[in-house]
């Protein structure tokens, strides 16, 4: 007799626990619009705003006169753990002072090797490079991921030391 009682007790207990779980599911089923955290990603491209600090890709900022702040000091190249940044620099005579000054020829950035660790950005003494929150850089060819960050014809800003 005792065995039969406990048998049925077990069954009722089991049904009770299952219904408790179903109650949670039922609550969210009936309040389906209450909290939606998923986003319709490719459709919401126009309105999607990433956080300011989100690290998507390294960029060299240029102002409206096509001037940047990179002195070619290679601090970022040394700080990078993966050899992502390669700076090819040149020396050019300053027309005002007549001294030879270092300028960058090519700022090569291998995006395919970049781990977006932000060490280059914090090591830059002139804040020339920064992280851009844009993404979607998948390509069919690995070559496209090697970029030259300084725009053609760009110069170093005058006030940068």
């Amino acid at each position: 007799m005792n065995a039969i009682t406990s048998y049925f007790k077990d069954i009722f207990h089991a049904i009770k626990t299952l219904l408790t779980g179903m109650r949670v599911t039922g609550y969210y089923f009936s309040h389906a619009r209450k909290e939606i955290i998923t986003q319709q990603y490719p459709e919401n491209r126009d309105t999607l705003k990433m956080f300011d600090r989100f690290r998507g890709i390294v960029t060299l900022t240029h102002d409206e006169n096509n001037e940047h702040a990179c002195t070619g000091c290679s601090a970022c190249e040394i700080a990078c753990p993966n050899g992502t940044i390669e700076i090819i620099s040149d020396r050019e005579e300053d027309p005002e002072t007549g001294k030879k000054k270092k300028i960058i020829d090519k700022f090569i950035y291998h995006y395919s090797m970049c781990t977006l660790c932000n060490l280059c950005i914090i090591s830059c003494p002139t804040d020339a490079i920064k992280m851009d929150p844009s993404f979607e850089y998948a390509t069919f060819d690995r070559k496209d991921l090697t970029m030259i960050l300084n725009k053609p014809g760009s110069k170093i800003r005058k006030d940068v030391k």
Binding site: T17, I37, F51, R53, F54, I122
Partner: protein, 375 residues
């Protein structure tokens, strides 16, 4: 190795080997378990690791101390903040630098948020391993809020690289405190749902209670740490025994269970989430002012000659970093004592005599992260 054994019914059967993994979903990554089976009863488990070995320790030998930090993100990717913190604390202790209170509190809050997010993911995956897809969706719903907090303050969701030797990379975002408070408020109502959905479920209880018992003595001799060890009654919380950052100024309980079965390990993690919530609540309203980076730590860091060790409590157990320095800017030798490695090899001891379905449940409660084991 194949030999014939006689079962009780005198029917001759053959012992055989089955490879579980490296592509099996319940091994949570590329872990290969070689099972020696008699029918469905497990005689022996041999874990084969090395499928995701990236030689992080060797790579660290050519990197500077600032660069090593970002590699540790890729070890135990669910405890990224604690891994970063371990290396940073080691460098700070070796240089005898004291970081500001602000940094300590920020690091503690971040670590506890990481612990919460790791345990949430574990909870979701644990349910899914046992055949309940529901839990996975609920866990990821709550985890999303933590990921947003990380993304706003640190700039990344998983490989955050937020700690630097001597401080943190950025100051906290102006929205940080409000977001954390919102999260804590909502998560306190969500956590009881976890019990309703899974902890009290009869199917779950019957599959976990009394299964895979690990005694306290075995936990100690295998070096099992973290919630896995604490569920067997082995008091090993680094936060309590060797307090670092701001853990000495907050009150929290070390969760100790006595049974050591699969359900105890499950329960220990659920209770640990409540403790993490309480730690964050104590700290979030009074983040002191101060420098976010210690100015005395130079750009090029050279540790003094000698050996250094620092351990932190990650979501899986005790992570130890051991550095032999010869005075150069990169370590002569660096060794990570990862919690997952020790916890994995107790599996063979636990699982003998049980069935394959129990192995899946046990493996879930050990909470394996394979990149942490292989490094």
């Amino acid at each position: 190795m194949i030999e014939e054994v006689e079962t009780k019914d005198a029917i001759k059967t053959q012992e055989y080997f089955v490879n579980m993994g490296p592509q099996h979903p319940s091994t949570h990554g590329v872990l290969r378990l070689m099972l020696e089976l008699d029918g469905e009863i497990i005689k022996k488990v041999t874990p084969h690791i090395g499928y995701i070995h990236r030689s992080i320790e060797k790579m660290s030998e050519k990197d500077s101390y600032r660069q090593i930090v970002h590699l540790t993100d890729r070890m135990d990717y669910l405890s990224n903040h604690m891994n970063n913190e371990a290396v940073c604390l080691l460098v700070e202790n070796a240089l005898e630098v004291e970081v500001s209170d602000r940094v300590k509190v920020i690091r503690t809050i971040m670590s506890e948020l990481t612990r919460l997010s790791s345990h949430q993911l574990w909870w979701g995956v644990m349910g899914m391993d046992l055949g309940a897809l529901t839990t996975f969706l609920y866990a990821f719903r709550d985890r999303e809020m933590i990921n947003d907090i990380f993304e706003e303050t640190c700039g990344a969701r998983l490989t955050v690289n937020y700690n630097v030797p001597g401080g943190v990379m950025f100051d906290i975002h102006p929205n940080f405190q409000q977001r954390v408070k919102d999260f804590i408020k909502s998560f306190k109502t969500k956590l009881p749902e976890y019990d309703d959905l899974l902890s009290n479920n009869v199917i779950f209880r019957q599959r976990t209670e009394g299964v895979g018992i690990l005694s306290k003595e075995d936990a100690i001799s295998y070096g099992v740490t973290g919630p896995t060890g604490r569920a067997s009654g082995f008091s090993n919380d680094t936060r309590k025994h060797k307090p670092y950052s701001a853990y000495d100024r907050v009150e929290f309980k070390e969760i100790l269970m006595d049974k050591g079965d699969t359900f105890s390990r499950y329960k220990a993690r659920i209770l640990e989430m409540w403790e993490s919530v309480s730690i964050i609540e104590q700290l979030i309203d009074n983040i002191p002012e101060g420098d976010i980076q210690e100015p005395s730590v130079k750009q090029v860091i050279k540790l003094p000659k000698g050996e250094f060790y620092q351990s932190v409590e990650t979501a899986r157990g005790e992570l130890g970093v051991y550095v032999v320095s010869d005075g150069q800017k990169s370590p002569y030798r660096l060794k990570f004592r990862s919690p997952g490695f020790s916890n994995l090899f107790v599996l063979d001891h636990m699982v003998r005599g049980y069935k394959i379905a129990d192995l899946v449940a046990m493996m879930s409660t050990i909470d394996l992260v394979i990149p942490d084991i292989d490094r």
